[in-house]
Symmetry: C2
Subunit: 322 residues, 2 copies
């Protein structure tokens, strides 16, 4: 692998000149530039980023901390981050914390070793103080850690509100919210939005906690059998909604005539099941992209931007609502 000295020798100039050419900085004669560029080409020279970073103390790398990858939300967000990072010359180093603080700390150490310039975190941990020690710009996803740390959040409150509104305006009287684990902030926000709309309309709804990935079908079944009158269901993801639908089928209910259902996430599941699922869609790619845009602002010293971005959700009307 050729280095800057080799190039300088071949082009018959000093390393400083080569440096000027590759960084497009300082005066350099057009002819010498040509000479250097030719040398670079023939030697297939690519500057060593380590040497550069060692001096400049920036790495053009950002770290991303996520609790999992196996979850459509995170890898879609990751795509958005990666896209925007790439366009700005940043590399992405991923940390999969597995919700494990020890592991996350280990990763944070890696991050300082590699001098990452910035951090995007979607972790649920309480390692904020560790993040701060890094003394680098941080952006938080789906959670407002602190007023001075920019965040990008999906409008969960709005999503909950929207779902309630749709259900009520299309005539539902007896509602249930099959939600995710209520320890999660996102779930709490959706519940608040949902409840807000309910109280505005003077309505009531049951709330049932379920696991996101493997919801307990027996809970759904027994709830539905006890509450025969239910005619409106809001589910915190499409998986739960799919289970509810198959349960209602078993019970001989017609959808959407007897019961209307709204899911969340608009996964491919939504248009696969019969009837096709009406659902609230999160703009995951945008969330990632916006997070990286915020980070970029921080990185370039810009202070005037929307510090706490709320990414809207979209309601996708299909066949499970009237």
């Amino acid at each position: 692998m050729a280095n800057i000295k080799d190039v300088a020798k071949l082009a018959n100039v000093s390393v400083a000149t080569v440096s000027r050419v590759i960084n497009n900085k300082g005066y350099v004669n057009e002819e010498t530039r040509k000479l250097v560029e030719d040398a670079i080409k023939t030697l297939n020279y690519i500057p060593n980023e380590f040497a550069r970073s060692l001096f400049k103390k920036v790495s053009k790398t950002i770290g991303v901390i996520f609790p999992h990858l196996i979850n459509s939300f995170y890898y879609n967000v990751l795509e958005g981050i990666e896209e925007e990072a790439f366009n700005n010359g940043y590399k992405v180093m991923i940390c999969n914390s597995h919700e494990d603080d020890i592991r996350e700390e280990e990763y944070i150490k890696q991050f300082v070793k590699y001098n990452i310039d910035g951090l995007i975190t979607g972790s649920n941990s309480n390692l904020l103080y560790k993040y701060r020690e890094l003394k680098i710009p941080i952006v938080s996803i789906d959670r407002r850690i602190d007023a001075d740390i920019p965040s990008v959040t999906s409008d969960n409150y709005g999503g909950g509100y929207l779902a309630a509104e749709k259900l009520i305006s299309s005539g539902c009287k007896y509602l249930v919210h099959f939600r995710g684990p209520s320890i999660l902030l996102t779930v709490q926000d959706r519940t608040r939005g949902y409840d807000k709309c309910l109280s505005e309309k003077g309505m009531f709804s049951w709330q049932v906690d379920l696991d996101f990935l493997e919801p307990d079908i027996n809970i759904i079944r027994s709830f539905l059998s006890v509450h025969e009158a239910i005619d409106g269901v809001f589910c915190d993801n499409d998986i739960i909604a799919a289970h509810v639908i198959s349960e209602l089928h078993r019970m001989g209910k017609r959808i959407p005539q007897d019961v209307q259902i709204i899911g969340y996430d608009n996964t491919y599941l939504a248009h696969l099941i019969t009837p096709k699922l009406s659902t609230v869609s999160q703009r995951m790619f945008d969330i990632g992209k916006e997070a990286m845009i915020s980070l970029n602002h921080l990185l370039s010293g810009e202070k005037e931007f929307n510090f706490h971005k709320l990414i809207p959700v979209d309601y996708i009307s299909r066949e499970t609502t009237r």
Copy 2:
């Protein structure tokens, strides 16, 4: 951020000694070691990996090239890679090529800038010669690039064979294979395995190409309406299988009495739809893990290992087969 000099000063030793301590290399008195370790702790010192890499010419980083992230196969594999990499002190830098050669080349450049130690590629591009120029160990996923490049492949041939065998042994006579795009190697392999079993049993099957993510329902519908006798269907993923099932429902066919169906991938979709889908399951996490294990062998100079790993598939029997 403290550096090695600060530590040396505080411990009243030379930087060389500190280096010996942090690398556990060379002679160092137990007492001095204690001194140094204390200094490291009080200063919260973490060695700068750039300076280290600059000298040692290894980065403890590997690159991963994937065509997408938005695809359960890739992010599950990524989890496996990440897990094993982390356990061996390697960081993962991801490259999302978007099936775009230009973009992939750009990333390869990034990789050399950062001196990555090894590469795992799941790309479908023809940039092998570019990879080779990197002069670093490479492992290929789901594709055997070349005899001298270790690969980790899911047993697609076996999966196809297995599906045919199950269908035939449970009495199917008129078969169809709704497969993915036949340009894909994985699809070709499954088809070969499937056909092999068929020819052994003296049977025949139709082959229909479909898109993996958004299969054209009209193609499925028209095929099924023309070929009324079909009683066995092998689908190259669960999404296609789900569409086939809803189509068969529409036609008034009973599953599995009239028609039996086998999917592929064992996504959560499989146990969500009614009836629950019998399917072929790929060990995605293992594929990633094994790829990193192979890379690790290469990285540590070991030459004696299984160069071309075939990861078995599992048949998951559910309600769409007899």
